[in-house]
């Protein structure tokens, strides 16, 4: 076998191999159109190599002419797909140029088969054997076909297309690609055009060796494409590794979420797509899918709780606030479940939509426990009030008997007046007015007693401290008087703001502290017995109310214990009064503490939050 046969065959084989490899790449990744086009380029080059081998070994002018004519078919494939490849690979190039080129090349192909013996020769007149690589190869001479100029022009168009696409890619930053692809095409075109011109027009004694340039160009492009394939496969490996670690961290997260009995969810408002873990679906009573619309979620929520969700959701999305809501869902079984959901909007990564993600948990048990605690606190507070009113009973009886006695005496006096012949009507009118006044007095005491004895849960609303003091004064002043103790419960700063509290419970705390103070001063000498209550604004958030007494104070070693349940120093005491008071104050968000006054005696202080304008509305 001759060297020419070997080299050209190997050249064709190499081209076919490249074509096969890249066709395979395309087969696996249909998006890799550049690889498909490259495969066509390579197939064209391979076909051309065979045709070239044929013409090199032609024995007659007719055989040579036929070889050249048929060589234009793979050349067409090669040129058109090369133009397409450059455009696809560099993602550049002008479409009109591409289509003009393709059209021109079709015309050229037509001319190839319709004029002369082929595009290049109107007629091959003779062939001569020239030595090439140590053997004779065919070289033709004949009449050149003027249509060949059109072929040359199409080559120029290709050159322009490629250079233009290369410049565009270069400017975009893909410098290496632009250089490798455009450069190799330009070099090939320059070399092959020069050779063809030299052979045809200048009659240089050299056979056609364009296939070798093709192979060179294909090698450069193939190298460039393979680098892409290699890079892609490295990326795939990296992606697999990161996916593995992502999977692992997701598993860990799921493990943690399952252990904490939390459901995870994410909502993408743009696409109205809610993603949820199986646990989340189970918590909300949703079917086990991983994607829902938001409406699927809200449908599960009790209708009267839906308001609780919409507003915070809007705020979370628009203002970026943390989302934290509690609501009830209706389970398919008909039961209800309390759900707490928290979440936030994360700054979206580039190319991803904004989404709200978070967790939800079943808080039914917690809500039940909270409710039970509140109920027990209400019960205990009520028991404390009943016991406290029991202590005050004798003084309160006096407080009521006073107006009742006055009413009775007035009525009796009126009867006597009416028995006279000319009753003094003015006096009787005054008596009736007094009776009415005393009746209201007794009713006021009874009202306040009844309010205190009512069993009710904590209901906070704005409370004027002055009203609080006057209510309490009505209930304890008789007790203070019976114990011959001065009770100062009047002075209030004029600008004292209203506090946020439950009227009954705050009264209970204040009465409890005053009764304790009255007990504390019971042992001291008559003229010194004194209990004082003052209120002041502590800061922007709290008002402090302090109950001071002139008693012996609290021994330092007892201070830490006095709020403990069942701690008492009184013979008949249960030791629950201060415990209940502290619980009530803390339920209001305030504090209750005890101290000794520098001048002797104890002072109990409690703080209550100032009622804000929002709470008052």
């Amino acid at each position: 076998m001759s060297w020419v046969t070997v080299i050209w065959s190997m050249c064709a084989a190499a081209c076919l191999t490249l074509a096969f490899v890249h066709a395979l790449v395309w087969a696996h990744d249909r998006a890799a159109r550049a690889s498909l086009l490259f495969a066509f380029v390579a197939v064209g080059a391979a076909g051309y190599a065979f045709c070239e081998l044929w013409l090199l070994q032609a024995r007659t002018p007719q055989e040579f002419a036929a070889a050249v004519r048929w060589a234009h078919v793979p050349l067409f494939v090669w040129l058109v797909s090369l133009a397409g490849f450059v455009c696809a690979y560099l993602r550049a190039g002008r479409a009109w140029l591409l289509w003009t080129l393709i059209g021109l090349r079709v015309v050229v192909l037509g001319l190839n088969f319709s004029t002369g013996q082929n595009l290049n020769f109107l007629e091959v007149t003779s062939i001569q054997q020239v030595p090439f690589l140590g053997e004779p190869v065919a070289m033709a001479s004949g009449v050149a076909n003027p249509a060949m100029l059109l072929g040359q022009f199409s080559a120029l168009l290709l050159l322009i297309l490629v250079v233009d696409a290369g410049i565009t890619a270069w400017r975009r930053g893909d410098r290496r690609r632009a250089l490798m692809v455009s450069g190799s095409v330009v070099a090939l075109l320059a070399a092959s055009t020069a050779e063809a011109n030299l052979i045809v027009w200048a009659g240089l004694q050299l056979p056609f060796t364009i296939s070798l340039f093709h192979l060179g160009m294909l090698a450069v492009m193939g190298f460039e494409l393979s680098r892409d394939v290699l890079r892609a496969s490295r990326l795939v490996r990296e992606l697999q590794a990161s996916e593995a670690s992502l999977r692992e961290s997701r598993q860990r997260m799921n493990l943690a979420a399952d252990a904490a009995d939390l459901g995870l969810w994410a909502w993408e408002p743009g696409a109205d797509d809610v993603w949820a873990t199986p646990r989340c679906c189970a918590l909300l009573g949703l079917p086990q899918r991983s994607h829902f619309a938001l409406a699927d979620f809200t449908d599960r929520v009790r209708p009267d709780d839906r308001e609780r969700i919409t507003q915070p959701l809007r705020r979370a999305l628009e203002e970026g606030q943390a989302y934290a809501v509690q609501y009830r869902v209706r389970l398919p079984s008909g039961a209800e479940r309390w759900i707490e959901a928290t979440g936030r909007v994360d700054e979206p990564e580039a190319g991803r939509a904004r989404r709200l993600q978070g967790v939800c948990a079943d808080i039914t048990e917690r809500r039940r426990a909270e409710k039970e605690t509140a109920r027990l606190r209400t019960e205990l507070a009520h028991a404390g009030r009943v016991s406290m009113m029991g202590q005050l009973a004798s003084a309160l009886a006096h407080e009521i008997n006073q107006p009742l006695g006055a009413i009775l005496r007035n009525a009796e006096a009126a009867e006597l007046f009416l028995q006279s012949d000319s009753p003094d009507l003015d006096e009787i009118r005054a008596i009736v007015a007094d009776i009415r006044h005393d009746d209201q007095r007794a009713a006021a005491v009874i009202d306040r007693m009844r309010a205190l004895l009512r069993r009710q849960a904590l209901q906070t609303r704005p409370l004027a401290v002055g009203e609080l003091f006057s209510d309490v004064r009505l209930l304890v002043r008789a007790d203070a008087a019976a114990r011959q103790t001065r009770l100062d419960l009047d002075e209030l700063p004029a600008d004292l703001p209203a506090v946020s509290g439950d009227r009954v419970h705050v009264q209970q705390v204040l009465i409890n502290l005053i009764v304790n103070a009255l007990d504390a001063v019971a042992g001291s000498a008559g003229s010194d017995r004194w209990v004082g209550v003052v209120a002041r604004r502590r800061d922007t958030r709290f008002v402090e109310i302090a109950v001071s007494d002139s008693g012996a104070g609290i021994p330092a070693e007892r201070l830490p214990q006095i709020f403990d349940p069942f701690f008492t120093t009184k013979a008949g005491g249960m030791g629950m009064g201060l415990t209940i008071s502290r619980t009530l104050v803390e339920a209001h968000g305030g504090q209750l503490w005890a101290d000794n006054r520098p001048g002797g005696g104890a002072v109990f202080t409690f703080s209550l939050p100032i009622a804000t304008a929002v709470a008052a509305a």
Partner: protein
């Protein structure tokens, strides 16, 4: 006319009770505190005190104690809003005329006031007679009082004359002067009179 002194810190109750007592025909003077009453309390005003047991400052029992120390200890009648056993016992032991609840029936109140006034009248009469007797005894000379001391012990004139170292006829003259000054006729009468004057008139026992 005896005056019922009303002391109560509750103006409304004070007005009501004074209306009733006035309508029942009593002279009434109301006071809103024990100290206000004591400040104007006269030495010879007849009547009684109706006081609230519980009052700020000086309370009912304090008022009673302060009143008992004066030369015009009017009987005290307590009113209270509550039936407190300890206070009741203390008040009665200190000689309270009566102890009534504020809502007690009118008849009970008026009876109690009537009783207190009657008692004041009795005690005031006794105090008056005693004072007159003491004034008559004051009129005797030193020697006549010495003789009187012996006479009421039942000694004879002769024994008295021997004890005092004077003549028996002088003793007779002194006895005549004594009976004349004191306006008594017999020795027995004289003895009873001296016995009465010897001790201050005691308050009548409260508990039957």
């Amino acid at each position: 006319m005896p005056i019922v002194h009303l002391v109560d810190d509750d103006p409304s109750f004070l007005t009501a009770v004074s209306r009733l007592l006035k309508a029942s025909g009593y002279e009434v003077l109301p006071f809103t505190s024990a100290s206000a009453f004591l400040q104007q309390h006269g030495t010879d005003t007849a009547g009684c005190v109706v006081a609230d047991l519980q009052m700020p400052g000086l309370d009912g029992l304090g008022l009673q104690a302060a009143l008992a120390a004066t030369i015009n200890p009017l009987p005290v009648l307590f009113l209270t809003g509550e039936g407190d056993i300890t206070s009741t016992v203390r008040a009665m032991r200190s000689g309270a005329e009566d102890f009534l609840e504020k809502t007690a029936p009118k008849e009970a109140l008026l009876d109690a006031v009537q009783r207190a006034l009657a008692r004041d009248a009795r005690e005031r009469g006794a105090r008056c007679r005693h004072a007159a007797l003491r004034a008559r005894l004051e009129a005797l000379t030193q020697r006549e009082r010495e003789v009187l001391g012996h006479v009421v012990q039942g000694r004879l004139n002769k024994q008295i004359a021997a004890d005092l170292g004077i003549h028996e006829r002088t003793v007779k003259l002194h006895r005549t002067a004594i009976t004349t000054k004191l306006g008594v006729r017999s020795s027995a009468e004289l003895a009873r009179l001296v016995q009465q004057a010897g001790a201050a008139p005691q308050p009548e026992p409260t508990f039957p």
